[in-house]
């Protein structure tokens, strides 16, 4: 598949087609940094002065490049598709290969960043357990009640949450058994068929 651009976008990117390879690499580096850490307007001014062009042009160029990288990573474009998408914008052979290199090198990272930004459920982080035997209580001085104490840590975005739970041997065996079955399901033919078919 190819990326689809809007007109303004094309215009913004057209600034990049005329740049030298070194400068383009620099632009690529800046865009990646911005994707990682957010936009820093001061850098636009420095670059604009150096190149002798208006600040807006530089800004549009960098933003266009960022968009290009993000969209590519988002759709997980392969080499050919990415290059073809660049071609429609009128990039030369040399600049295309530079950008492709940049894209391939950082695709995983950008995807990771995008993934981190997406909707997240509280998910499993860590589990600690401890085996206790309750031997006495205030109202019953002689008893033997085995218990398993579980400290379950879940993570929602970056917030960690710790929950203390307990269970008895019978239920522990049951829970373990049920979750083992759940894991087996992942290896079942049904799941694999679905995973194969949805690509």
């Amino acid at each position: 598949m190819l990326l689809v651009y809007e007109d303004s976008h094309k215009e913004h990117l057209s600034f990049l087609t005329d740049l030298e390879t070194e400068v383009l690499k620099e632009f690529g580096r800046i865009s990646l940094n911005f994707i990682r850490k957010g936009i820093n307007p001061k850098i636009f001014q420095g670059a604009a002065q150096k190149l002798g062009v208006p600040v807006e042009t530089v800004q549009h160029g960098v933003e266009g490049l960022m968009y290009l990288l993000i969209e590519g990573s988002r759709f997980l474009l392969n080499e050919v598709d990415f290059q073809d998408s660049l071609m429609t914008l009128g990039f030369s052979e040399e600049t295309r290969s530079t950008l492709l290199e940049l894209y391939l090198e950082h695709r995983r990272e950008v995807r990771q960043i995008l993934d981190d930004m997406s909707l997240d459920l509280p998910h499993y982080h860590n589990l600690e357990w401890r085996f206790d035997v309750q031997l006495a209580s205030r109202s019953l001085r002689h008893q033997v009640a085995p218990l398993v104490l579980l400290k379950l840590q879940t993570k929602d975005d970056e917030a960690k949450k710790t929950t203390l739970l307990q269970t008895d041997p019978v239920n522990l065996v049951h829970v373990t058994h049920v979750l083992e079955e759940a894991l087996q399901e992942m290896k079942s033919g049904y799941f694999r068929r679905i995973a194969r078919n949805i690509k």
């Binding site: 988002r74 759709f75 997980l76 995807r111 995008l114 993934d115 930004m117 997406s118 909707l119 459920l121 509280p122 998910h123 499993y124 982080h125 589990l127 600690e128 357990w129 085996f131 209580s137 205030r138 109202s139 019953l140 001085r141 002689h142 008893q143 009640a145 085995p146 398993v148 104490l149 579980l150 379950l152 879940t154 929950t163 203390l164 739970l165 307990q166 269970t167 008895d168 041997p169 239920n171 522990l172 065996v173 049951h174 829970v175 373990t176 049920v178 979750l179 083992e180 759940a182 894991l183 399901e185 992942m186 799941f191 679905i194 995973a195 949805i198 690509k199």
Partner: protein
């Protein structure tokens, strides 16, 4: 097992044939067990016609003595021997001691169950539900394509009447980690059970 002087006096009162006739002693012990165990029989002595002719004040005192004795004996899991030596000190006859043990000992586990219910605990896992999703894409990323589990632990919380869910999601690797740890715990218990 320790008793205050007043309690001992009341226990002795229950065994004193001058106050509590021999033929209702057994009934009184049975009532004490029932009264402690069952909510609908908490007023059983009052309703029982067998105690009609007994002095109520004495009956109440003796009853409270027996109830205390029963509860404390169950709490400390006292042996037959300990109980009989205590009753001997309260001037019980051997027959009465036997009678008491005969009624009380079969009830002891039930009373201990009642006492065992007093306490507190963390949410107690009693069951687990799971669901396997195939995560395809989201608004930011396409082609995620991975299996994701949603786990819901059903827990019981003291004082509530409905199971409460504790939900979280995990990837295959995380679930493997979780199951591995749980299996460790199970294995550990099995090892201890075999010693």
């Amino acid at each position: 097992m320790e008793f205050g002087p007043q309690v001992l006096e009341n226990i002795a009162l229950a065994g004193d044939a001058a106050h509590i006739p021999d033929k209702i002693f057994a009934k009184l012990v049975t009532c004490a067990c029932q009264g402690v165990l069952n909510e609908d029989q908490r007023n059983i002595v009052e309703e029982n016609p067998a105690f009609k002719d007994t002095n109520k004040a004495v009956l109440k005192a003796a009853f409270s003595g027996l109830v205390t004795l029963i509860i404390e004996a169950a709490k400390h899991d006292s042996s037959d021997q300990n109980i009989s030596s205590l009753l001997e000190e309260c001037k019980y006859t051997a027959d009465k001691i036997n009678e008491f043990s005969k009624i009380f000992l079969p009830q002891k586990p039930h009373i201990q169950l009642l006492l065992g219910k007093i306490g507190f605990s963390f949410p107690h896992i009693v069951d687990v539900d799971w669901r396997l999703d195939y995560y395809i894409k989201n608004n930011n990323v396409e082609k995620v394509n991975s299996g994701v589990y949603l786990i819901s632990l059903k827990t019981e919380i003291p004082g509530e009447h409905e199971l409460k869910d504790f939900q979280f999601s995990c990837t295959v690797e995380q679930l493997q980690d979780l199951v591995g740890k749980l299996r460790d715990a199970t294995k550990c218990m099995e090892r201890i059970a075999q010693v």
